[in-house]
Subunit: 189 residues, 2 copies
């Protein structure tokens, strides 16, 4: 709702801490220190800690959706390229965009029911993009299986990279995306 520049900046910093420490282990005092203010001042910007989480997750999902949509616009239209585009966009929001999408994926459970209800349509819109692209790949005979399961397996493989991938290592996120797509597509003809 409210989106003052200050609040946006605070949300960005919160996302970083939530990824590093986890939502539960991040105290409002830690958040405040990172933001260069005292803990009491935080509650001028956010009603409570829950609202900070909701703000982060909203931004994270929103970014993922925006970046994926834009990437699809500029993508070649063949199903394989679009699959690659989506995978690249997904990892881009996880590793280079800035953390908020990671929080959206890994701390969703910590949202209260109200926030979940409010944000689930955003998440669903993003997943719908995926199902769309996967459907096209299925119809083209590029991959095979159940559309629902394939989407979830692919997203699972991508999401889990957060747990092991080191962006400082030799591979780029794009490398990972291409490898994953290569894995589920029959060998190059």
């Amino acid at each position: 709702m409210n989106a003052s520049p200050r609040r946006k900046e605070l949300t960005r910093l919160a996302a970083q801490l939530f990824v590093q420490e986890g939502f539960d282990k991040t105290t409002v005092r830690m958040l405040a220190q990172e933001m260069g203010i005292k803990s009491g001042s935080l509650f001028h910007h956010f009603k409570d800690k829950q609202e900070i989480l909701a703000a982060v997750i909203e931004e994270g999902t929103h970014n993922a959706l925006r970046i994926a949509r834009r990437a699809l616009e500029y993508s070649p239209t063949d199903p394989e390229a679009r699959l690659r585009t989506m995978a690249r966009a997904h990892l881009e929001t996880l590793f280079t965009d800035r953390n908020a999408h990671v929080v959206a994926l890994f701390e969703w459970r910590r949202l209260d029911d109200e926030a979940k209800a409010h944000l689930s349509h955003l998440r669903d819109a993003y997943e719908a993009l995926w199902v769309e692209v996967i459907d096209a790949a299925l119809e083209a005979g590029l991959i095979h299986g159940d559309r629902f399961l394939v989407s979830r397996f692919v997203l699972g493989a991508l999401n889990w990279t957060v747990r092991w991938y080191d962006p400082a290592g030799p591979r780029t996120p794009d490398d990972l995306a291409d490898e994953l797509v290569g894995m589920i597509i029959p060998a190059k003809r």
Copy 2:
């Protein structure tokens, strides 16, 4: 270390709560209530809350390793069947064995450094099983890609099922495992 039957039972109950609520959100009072004792009594069995987590994760990883090894013994020896066997075993420990493996995967970060050091060899042994089976599939030309990445993508896809799969639904864990293997293997010849 210590493995009194009582402690084993408590560990089992703790695993269940850790999955339902998450480690951080599970209080020692909740644990005690579930176990039918008072919170103070818990510390007769475990030095502190950390030790409960370590016990759960040790059991979870140990179970996963044991079940996978045994499943491979009885598995046909062709690479595709062994891949399927590993995937089935993995989901079996996640959904039907009982929760401890889920905790091992999702709360690993919460272990202190000492526990991580003590348990990482167990985890590595389990992952080595996977790499072995995946290597065989690569050599047989059944799948293609980097052994390291393929293992991690497959495990990611499997692990993430915890977040969306409903065991009460129409599909069995074995169905999921077979679908995943089908997804990464070229269409039936």
